[in-house]
């Protein structure tokens, strides 16, 4: 099918984009179009106004500073994937992106579009939530920082106000020697994850885990930080038994869904395996042994 007709607005800069957004609360923002246009093709969405951000080159950048990899909202996913400075500062970003759709989709899909879309099974929202990253929104009142934990509110729902655009995503850099992993299970390559796990671990001088970050997607209406799991890890030496305990804890944090029992059991089984696999890979990358 084809999109229904709409008024088409092409702002030349961010200010005019924000004004266009504020003047048209029922508008759709078009960045890469890789989620919006399929829904328009199938008339699942039929916006009155489409605001196309394609001229906003000011939002197409990857800047790495000592604390963050800062990515402009209009940066194509594939551009960030290939960015070497981002890879050196946080290799987990590249590994996560390689799980997002197919290369051809990532050529067009933007970092901001994926985050603003807030699919509960999407990889980038899971990554930025797990890393305790930060998002920058821009509305009539100017820019506003939003911690990732507050940004994702529900399925396809974010903390963006109707007049706000997402302009930047800031992914924390990893410490030297910190291990990392992103593991997912999807039915076919390039599909959204049934479930995925992102993690980082840092080993302290005595061989115990000093810092751990663990998060998952596909198990609730937003990406989640597995805080109890992180607490179990910190202060302990990595071992298979520890990882098994952490995986059991992770499984108990899956939110009750209305799935049939068989599917629920399958999802628990998946998460259990993904958590253990991610921890093993991350520990391996620290150079420590299990």
């Amino acid at each position: 099918m084809k999109p229904s007709a709409f008024r088409y607005v092409v702002p030349a800069d961010l200010q005019s984009a924000v004004h266009a957004r504020a003047a048209n609360y029922d508008s759709a923002v078009l960045s890469g179009g890789q989620s919006l246009i399929p829904t328009m093709n199938f008339r699942l969405s039929h916006p009155d106004v489409v605001i196309d951000l394609r001229l906003l080159d000011e939002l197409d950048y990857v800047r790495t500073d000592p604390s963050y990899v800062r990515v402009g909202a209009m940066t194509r996913q594939r551009t960030l994937e290939f960015d070497d400075s981002a890879y050196r500062a946080n290799p987990l970003i590249r590994q996560t992106l390689q799980n997002v759709a197919h290369p051809v989709i990532r050529n067009r899909g933007t970092v901001g579009g994926s985050l603003a879309h807030a699919d509960p099974a999407a990889e980038l929202p899971c990554l930025i939530t797990t890393l305790r990253g930060e998002l920058v929104a821009h509305g009539l009142d100017g820019p506003r920082k939003i911690p990732a934990a507050d940004f994702f509110q529900f399925i396809f729902t974010t903390a963006l106000e109707p007049d706000e655009l997402l302009v930047e995503a800031a992914f924390p850099v990893l410490d030297p020697g910190e291990g990392w992993a992103f593991c997912e299970f999807a039915r076919r390559h390039g599909d959204f994850a049934l479930s995925a796990v992102a993690c980082t671990v840092k080993i302290g001088p005595g061989g115990a885990i000093q810092r751990a970050r663990l998060g998952a997607c596909g198990i609730a209406s937003t990406p989640v930080v597995l805080a109890e799991c992180e607490a179990l890890l910190v202060g302990n030496k990595p071992s298979e038994e520890l990882f098994a305990e952490v995986a059991r804890q992770a499984v108990s944090s899956i939110e009750a869904t209305d799935e049939p029992e068989a599917q629920r059991r399958y999802r628990r089984h998946l998460l259990d395996g993904l958590v253990r696999r991610a921890l093993e890979q991350a520990i391996q990358r620290t150079g420590a042994r299990v």
Binding site: G33, D52, N107
Partner: protein, 180 residues
Amino acid sequence: MSTDTSSMRAVAGDYEVDDLVAVTMTVNGTAVEAKIPARMLLSDFLRHELRLTGTHVGCEHGVCGACTVHLGGRPTRSCLTLAVQADGCEIRTVEGLADFDGTLHPVQQSFRECHALQCGFCTPGFMMSVAGLLEEGIGNDLSDSELREHLAGNLCRCTGYQNIVAATRKAIDLRDGKEG
């Protein structure tokens, strides 16, 4: 909320529902100008307006890859792109793969030699995706499963993929001048 109405707002374009949008692009090396509705998909613009029917349309939601073309040098789903988004851009379709003198592109040569098609519906999309991989510098050091991952965004209902994987390897060799 402060509404700053005094500021100058730069809007490059604002088109009502029935307006036509003037676009210019370069398609397979030829400059094209057209006036089109904003809702027209790039796939339909290529097929219906320019009559370049080599670009196929399968699913219209980004899953099959049959509509893949190069936009600004990168493989792109033309069914998930509005034609107006391509304003000012370079487009290359399957019709623009061969040289002007008819010499086949390595990917066309290899698909032909390896019998990598049966009905041919998926072929233009596959070839545009593989041509993009060749330009990105993909190498034959990849394992079959890694290569298949790169091809997974295109679906074929006939061949069973074996010969498509073989043709992709052959195209890499042809690019690298390893075979005649």
